[in-house]
């Protein structure tokens, strides 16, 4: 597995970034919108200018063009080639690398089957669902047997069941093939399952570099992420594996897990908050809120809410 090292990397967004993504780990880059997560991935891929140095293992790759870095890159908008079928999208990297027909056929078939989209091989991207597009984009990145896989907000628009499936797939593929995976995201609700390293970026700077569990104790860092972090007053067990978490005048129903009664705060990814002006069918975890302020920046809606006397900030992507 390839180790990635960035030394004093700066550009129009990033400021003196020093970090190392070790092998055998899932690497997560967290941060609010505009923090520089995408730019960091692009620096690793070599598709944006930067000062400083990038090393893959001990090899400096500053002068190596993107196509020779052996990287699979999946941008947030997936950037599928709409004029090509799924098969041709996935085969693109192999064709431009002048692989022979037989190798192309074998490798493309393998990744399409791996991502469960072999039956869609003759479809064009615009005719695919969101999840199918996601699979096709990941398959295209994997087809070239990359040493490093860079995923930018890979699960922002997919259903939770698909997210779980894709994550477990990527995990097993990366282990089997020795691929170092770096995921840039604003979402933390899936990170816990990955046991990886987390880097938090804010305004182009690294403000945290360490394991996820320790991050949860750093309230000042959690505050800049699109999360709602509330101090827990009391936890009551309920039936059916649930518990009632009391924070101020708000009571939140959550799954009961070992150690939950000792937890200090409840963290809710703020894009999981549904704001509605209509009565909700489900009454659990539904509260009446006063919207005190609202602004929209770069496709994000930021709202200041007051629920039962508690001020809460919510940021969510416009979908």
């Amino acid at each position: 597995m390839t180790r990635i090292k960035l030394v004093n990397v700066s550009n129009h967004i990033l400021e003196k970034v020093n970090l190392q993504f070790k092998e055998d780990e899932f690497n997560i880059v967290l941060g609010p919108s505009g923090a520089g997560k995408t730019t960091l991935l692009k620096v690793i891929a070599g598709i944006t200018n930067y000062k400083g140095h990038v090393y893959f293992d001990e090899r400096c790759v500053d002068n190596i063009p993107p196509g020779k870095r052996n990287i699979g890159y999946v941008p947030q908008n997936l950037a599928l080639f709409n004029h090509m079928t799924v098969w041709d999208n996935v085969a693109f990297g192999l064709k431009v690398r002048k692989e022979n027909e037989e190798t192309i056929r074998r490798k493309v078939s393998r990744v399409l089957k791996l991502m469960n989209i072999y039956h869609l091989k003759n479809h064009y991207p615009l005719k695919l669902s969101g999840g199918e597009k996601q699979r096709a984009a990941i398959a295209r990145a994997l087809a070239i047997n990359p040493e490093i896989l860079l995923l930018d907000e890979p699960f922002s628009n997919v259903h939770i069941s698909l997210r779980i499936e894709l994550l477990s797939k990527i995990t097993s593929i990366s282990k089997e093939n020795g691929i170092n995976v770096v995921i840039a995201t604003h979402n933390i609700d899936f990170i816990e399952t990955l046991h990886g390293k987390v880097v938090v970026l804010n305004k182009g700077r690294i403000i945290y570099d360490g394991p996820f569990k320790e991050l949860l104790l750093r309230r000042e860092i959690l505050n800049i992420l699109p999360l709602i972090s509330l101090p827990i007053d009391h936890v009551e067990p309920l039936a059916n594996g649930l518990c009632l978490v009391k924070t101020g005048k708000i009571s939140i129903v959550a799954p009961w897990e070992r150690g939950v009664d000792e937890a200090k705060s409840v963290i809710i990814p703020s894009d999981k908050v549904v704001i509605s002006n209509k009565p909700q069918r489900v009454q659990t975890n539904t509260y009446l809120a006063l919207i005190k302020g609202i602004n929209i920046i770069n496709g994000w809606v930021n709202m200041a809410l007051n629920i039962e006397g508690m001020d809460i900030k919510v940021s969510t992507i416009i979908s």
Binding site: I47, P75, H83, P125
Partner: protein
Amino acid sequence: MLITKQKTLNIYWKIAPYIIVLSLLGLWEFISKLKIVASHLFPSPSLVTVKLYYMIASGVLVKEYLVTAYRVLAGFSLGVLLGMILGILIAYSRSISKALYPIIAAVSVVPTLALVPLLIIWVGLNDMLAITAVFLCSFIPLTYNTVSAIRRIDPEIVDVAKTLGASKVDLTLRIFLPQSLPSILSALKLEAAMAWKTCFVTEFIALSSGLGRLMIEALNTLSVDEMLALLFVLSMSSYIFLKIFDEVEKYFLKKWGFRT
């Protein structure tokens, strides 16, 4: 019941254009037969059709048509090819863009026909005059449209292609050209009709062969039926040209899922 009504409506919309055209022709035929104006000045569609038949049968129309078609095809193909190549170069290179793009943008607002007097002096009264005029009328819009189309391509698509190992040639042939094809085809549709018009008028003004020359002869002999027959041939040729590109555009847009 509702489906039957919808089906009837669909059939109606399909045949409506033909009914309108036939009605207009009928009205024209009727007014001509009233002899309000002398028939040689305002001939009926049937007279124009007979004239067209004689022009084809005598071989004159076919001979001159082939001359015009050759000029249109030569000038247009050259204009499209070089326009696309220059468009790609401008989109690629900042220095070429800085040097040539303002010139292209300035020249694009000058009507090609306004350049014909200059071309008469520089190129002379020969085939090349019409070919050059057609070339200019397609070359500049194609350059302009190719540049805009390539600049509109999502930069992430280019980034992904680069990480996959695409060279500049791969990017051009496999990404830029196909991705900008819908915009280029829209420009081709407009310029295809323009190419026929430009060639016709250039022949009309300066040359001694082609459909334009037949028009000037018809004018000299006050053969309005011949003039109308020629206009019909010209408009049909433009229409067929336009229709071909329209079908190609539809084919790709449908194939790629932009249209159902």
